[in-house]
């Protein structure tokens, strides 16, 4: 490996192509355009649903197979032209880091990844003419996406080790840029892949429809409905309430594994709101935030001795009768106020998620009663590598266990709580890390990353800490339909 790596380094030093590409302007694409590439398909799909006759459907089908292909090709051509430039800029930006940082093995690996990807893409033929070219190109992209899956953990580990050689502000700038650019690169690449996958699915569906259309007509309609809402990686009818629900039960499960109990999550407000967004992004954001909230709630319960009481016992009766799911869905105003404030059978007050939709934006407020963030920590929660998890020896210090860290916090209560369980702790930690989107957890990238994701399409994220009570996080996401100039 080392010889290969050395070779690469030498090659990359004499490689002017990177500079050449990096000097080119980034051709930004608006999300609307990205959607537009897929928009025509949506229209076609709806048309096919509307026309019940077999002949019409097949004609239309042929028609939008063609359209889909065209759209996909457009996207691919754009990606072929754009991605090398963006990758080259990243390569360049790593090259401009201080030498000592470049010699860190983690950073070096990231550098090689980007350089390799750049090479692979530039090596691909310039013109993507037909279906076969597209398939091959999509394979290349898939390889790229897969190989880059671990970039963020590597970066975070790398900079954790390089902390003392570079000032914090510079690291912050570098990482912000790196991560934002990474989101863009992934989005473009995945859009090509997803469009291709959807196109093939559609083909298959329509083929099926030809043969067994009488039996399956309802299902196909459903599917094409879904397909019409999902354009590549973008969902045009995303229901945040559903997503919150999914994320909540997932995080609750993790919380149960780690602590043996978890708070309820109450969803209220406009639970029927829908909007256009990239579900993966929102899912990431919600999981991170909920993870912090749930962890803080449980830890605060332990700290303040919140336990179940009489009233809760009554509720757990209901629970025994099976009336209570893990998530309480509450339509706005349908129940008394204090239901949402009532602790569950473990004494944990619920985490309240409120969804509000207006013409221009969707606001998701996550409100917990986890004791809040201390004043000192509040200044640092958006710093990279600010975490309470990293140093296991220090994790018993009181201030660190109370802090909301960048995402890996769930782990930290486990370590400070029960020393005897250390073996199991390690196991559950691994499980959690796998579950939470790779070993990002605990490396202090959770909150800063969340914020970058939230801001990526013009959104905002505010965090208000009420010390002694809890944290309110406001996630304000723009309704993409109403925004003209969002660029990725």
């Amino acid at each position: 490996m080392s010889t290969q790596q050395e070779l690469d380094n030498i090659v990359s030093f004499y490689d002017d192509q990177v500079t050449l590409y990096a000097d080119q302007e980034i051709q930004t694409v608006t999300l609307k355009a990205l959607l537009g590439f897929g928009r025509t398909k949506k229209a076609g799909a709806e048309a096919s649903v509307a026309t019940p006759t077999v002949t019409a459907a097949t004609v239309d089908g042929d028609d939008h197979h063609h359209q889909d292909l065209e759209v996909n090709l457009q996207m691919a051509r754009y990606a072929r032209k754009e991605l090398p430039v963006r990758l080259a800029r990243r390569v360049k930006s790593i090259q401009n880091l201080p030498f000592i940082i470049g010699t860190n093995p983690y950073i070096k690996r990231v550098y090689r990844l980007y350089y390799d990807s750049f090479q692979a893409l530039t090596a691909f033929q310039e013109d993507i003419r037909d279906k076969e070219d597209l398939d091959r190109f999509a394979e290349v992209l898939r390889g790229l996406v897969e190989s880059h899956a671990d970039v963020i953990p590597m970066l975070s580990q790398g900079f954790l080790e390089c902390k003392k050689y570079m000032n914090t502000a510079d690291i912050q700038t570098f990482l912000d840029e790196m991560i934002r650019s990474r989101i863009g690169i992934r989005l473009i690449a995945e859009q090509v892949i997803a469009l291709r996958a959807q196109r093939t699915d559609l083909l298959k569906d329509n083929d099926d429809e030809d043969s067994v259309q009488d039996n399956n007509s309802t299902i196909t309609t459903d599917q094409s409905n879904v397909n019409s809402q999902v354009i590549g990686v973008v969902h045009t009818q995303l229901r945040p309430a559903e997503l919150v629900k999914d994320c909540a039960s997932f995080v609750q499960e993790l919380c149960n594994v780690n602590y043996g109990s978890s708070p309820d999550v109450v969803i209220n407000g406009q639970t029927d709101a829908t909007f256009t967004y990239v579900p993966v992004h929102l899912e990431y954001i919600l999981c991170e935030l909920l993870k912090n909230s749930l962890r803080a709630t449980v830890e605060h319960s332990v700290k303040t001795g919140r336990k179940m009481d009489q009233l809760v016992m009554q509720r757990s009766d209901r629970f025994l009768k099976g009336n209570r799911g893990p998530v309480v869905m509450k339509e706005d105003g349908s129940e008394e106020m204090d239901i949402t404030k009532r602790p569950n059978e473990f004494g944990h007050p619920p985490v309240e998620v409120t969804i509000a939709q207006s013409e221009h934006e969707i606001t998701i407020r996550i409100r917990d009663q986890g004791g809040g963030v201390s004043k000192e920590d509040l200044e640092h929660i958006f710093d990279y590598s600010f975490t309470t998890v990293k140093d296991e020896d220090e994790s018993s210090s009181p201030s660190s266990s109370a802090a909301a860290d960048g995402g890996g916090g769930l782990l930290d209560g486990g370590s400070s709580g029960n020393e005897s369980e250390s073996i199991f702790k390690g196991v559950s930690r691994l499980a959690m890390q796998a579950g939470l989107g790779g070993p990002i957890a605990g490396l202090g990238f959770g909150l800063p990353l969340t914020r970058i994701y939230a801001q990526y399409f013009g959104g905002r994220m505010h965090l208000v800490s009420l010390q002694g009570r809890g944290v309110d996080v406001y996630l304000k996401l723009k309704q993409l339909e109403h925004v003209e100039d969002l660029q990725i």
Partner: protein, 647 residues
């Protein structure tokens, strides 16, 4: 007319608690007849009007004075009376009777029939005297300019020339008797605005007066903390009181000077706006008046000083409306950011000066009150050391509900739930918190009443949730409503004084504003239940209109509806009556101005933030358009943060 409202005002004051109990003496000022306590003798009540109305004779004057017999106030009242007396009878004996220069000057200014030559002579004589008693940094100036005593006199004390004296006296007099003055009866800013044109600020000397200002501008402000005020105010002794007086005496001119310089740094065109100019003038007058007060060495001097400051506080009630109007009219001449900076500086400084002045005045009046050892009860001047979130939220929620009920023509406002650390205790200036909470709750209620979705089953509006959180250093009040939130366009202008100039348009309808809750919750005269005192009104209202919710199940949560708590108004029963009057000495001079409760002034939120930030707290608003709004008002718990004051 002022008399008729008296009982009402008092009863209103009763339910507002405020700073420490005051002596009767204190509220017997010539400045505001509506504040005169009902307990004082009828003669005493008439006196202020006599003075301000300038219709009195020397004999009437004496009767009034003698009628007041044993009270401590008499000295002060006499003070004024004799001053007026001397001048109207055209004798120059004042100086020799041992009156301090400033007091006779002040009274001269208040007189309506000044004798030009005498006044001039008096003033000139006083001027040179007081000038030498000034602070050291002025002394050397005197030496420098001693060759031209006349010049100094005329430039330093511009109230001397005849025309000036007249205009000055008009303003002062009208401020002293708002109800009796035709100016304020009309309630029309145009009448106030007309005055500046005749003013002396365009006189050629004006520019050179800045020589007096400069040393003050170069002096740094000495900020204080709430805690310092508390410690200082405990166990008041004569020497401490005098120390306090002299601190106020030296500190106020410095703070005023900084703001005057801010005015001077505005674009010239803005300075020529009549509203801005009026305020500028008021600041100059106040600066001059206070700057020439010599060191205060006796309690009598202190009393006189307090009277003067009180007068100034009253004069300055027009400042906020005038500033807002001026800024509104000038918004095209100054960039928005500069306007915002200027306004918040002005307001912040205004709070700081009023805190200093009111604190000292209240301390003085408490000290003067015969039983001042008894009247502490947690109050130190205008500061209260046992503020409980539960009480303060209850009180302001009730007031806000009342306001909203009236504004909407009897519609039932939403419930207010309270939870969190509602029994935490801390030290603060209740007026400030009340103002903020009242504004927040009023806004929330207004939005909920406009947009809130009623419960289909009970028909109730969605409640407002107030959560109190006690952190290590701060107390946070979170006010959460479901009133539909704030539109993004409005949200962007939430804190700006400049971006939506039209928001201040309603200031044309009022002339005075002290930025306190008291003035806003004026006695409801339009509603049918006016005749009954407030408490009963509230009770009735509930019986008839409000369907009270059943108490929260099992009282599990510390949630409750404020009106259930029967408003323990007698918490400070013995002193409340008096203290309410004390605190409102600078407010509520013309409550009818606020009677139209729907009058939306647009300054509530920015003003609230200035209040909140003043002692190191802050105010944040997050809105979820389409759902509701959350406001977070944070206050420093220990009062150990210095005034937030930009010098």
């Amino acid at each position: 007319m002022a008399m008729n409202r008296l009982p009402q005002t008092t009863s209103r004051c009763q339910r507002l608690y405020s700073s420490a109990s005051s002596s009767c003496a204190f509220s017997l000022t010539t400045s505001c007849s509506s504040r005169t306590p009902a307990t004082t003798a009828a003669v005493a009540r008439r006196t202020p009007r006599l003075i301000s109305g300038s219709t009195m004779t020397t004999t009437g004057n004496k009767t009034a004075a003698s009628a007041l017999g044993q009270c401590r106030i008499v000295t002060r009242t006499k003070h004024y009376l004799s001053g007026t007396n001397t001048i109207s009878s055209s004798t120059a004996t004042t100086i020799t009777t041992g009156r301090k220069g400033y007091s006779s000057l002040a009274t001269a200014a208040h007189s309506h029939q000044p004798h030009p030559s005498i006044t001039n002579a008096n003033a000139a004589a006083n001027t040179s005297r007081t000038y030498q008693q000034e602070s050291p940094q002025l002394l050397h100036r005197t030496n420098q300019q001693s060759s031209q005593p006349i010049h100094i006199a005329s430039s330093t004390f511009p109230s001397m020339p005849n025309s000036n004296l007249n205009t000055t006296s008009t303003t002062t007099a009208s401020a002293y008797s708002p109800q009796s003055s035709p100016l304020f009866k009309m309630n029309n800013p145009a009448s106030i605005v007309k005055q500046p044109q005749a003013r002396r600020r365009y006189s050629p000397q004006h520019f050179y007066q800045n020589r007096i200002l400069d040393p003050y501008v170069h002096q740094a402000v000495s900020p204080i903390t709430l805690r310092q005020l508390v410690f200082f105010g405990r166990n008041m002794q004569e020497d401490k009181l005098l120390k306090s007086a002299n601190y106020v005496r030296t500190e106020l001119p410095i703070r005023l000077a900084h703001r005057i310089r801010d005015f001077q740094n505005l674009p010239f065109i803005v300075g020529t706006n009549p509203h801005i100019e009026l305020v500028y003038d008021l600041y100059w007058q106040a600066f001059e008046k206070i700057a020439k007060v010599p060191e205060i060495k006796t309690l009598e001097e202190n009393d006189a000083f307090c009277e003067m400051v009180k007068g100034l506080l009253n004069d300055h009630l027009v400042v906020i409306p005038q500033l807002a109007l001026g800024i509104m009219e000038c918004s095209k001449h100054i960039p928005a950011a500069q306007v915002d900076q200027f306004m918040s500086k002005m307001l912040r400084s205004r709070i700081s000066r009023r805190v200093l002045a009111e604190q000292h005045i209240t301390l003085t009046s408490n000290f003067n009150s015969p039983n001042h050892m008894m009247t502490d009860r947690g109050y130190i001047g205008i500061i209260y050391t046992h503020i409980k979130p539960r009480d303060i939220v209850e009180r302001t929620a009730l007031l806000a509900a009342d306001t909203c009920r009236q504004a909407s023509g009897g519609m039932t406002p939403p419930k207010v739930f309270l939870d969190g650390n509602i029994d935490a205790e801390f030290t603060y200036i209740p007026d400030h918190i009340e103002y903020i909470l009242y504004e927040l709750l009023k806004n929330s209620m207004r939005f909920v009443m406009q947009n809130g979705k009623r419960d289909p089953a009970t028909g109730e509006l969605p409640p407002i949730q107030v959560t109190v959180c006690e952190g290590t250093h701060e107390i946070v009040f979170r006010v959460s409503d479901k009133g539909g939130g704030i539109h993004p366009e409005m949200e962007s202008q939430l804190w700006s004084y400049a971006q939506s100039p039209a928001r201040f348009a309603n200031f044309e309808k009022i002339s005075k504003m002290a930025a306190t809750v008291q003035e806003q919750v004026a006695q409801p005269s339009s509603s049918p239940s006016t005749s009954t005192p407030f408490q009963e009104t509230d009770g009735q209202g509930q019986d008839e209109n409000i369907v009270l919710p059943p108490p929260p199940a099992a009282n599990k949560n510390p949630t409750y509806h404020p009106s259930e708590a029967a408003m323990p108004l007698d918490r400070h029963a013995p002193s409340r009556n008096q203290s309410a009057q004390t605190s409102s000495f600078s407010t509520a001079t013309s409550p009818q101005q606020y009677k139209n409760q729907s009058l939306h002034l647009g300054i509530g939120l920015p003003m609230s933030r200035v209040y909140a930030e003043y002692w190191g707290g802050d105010l944040k608003v997050f809105t979820m358009h389409g759902y509701g709004t959350d406001a977070y008002a944070k206050f420093c718990k220990f009062g150990n943060i210095y005034e937030n004051f930009d010098s």
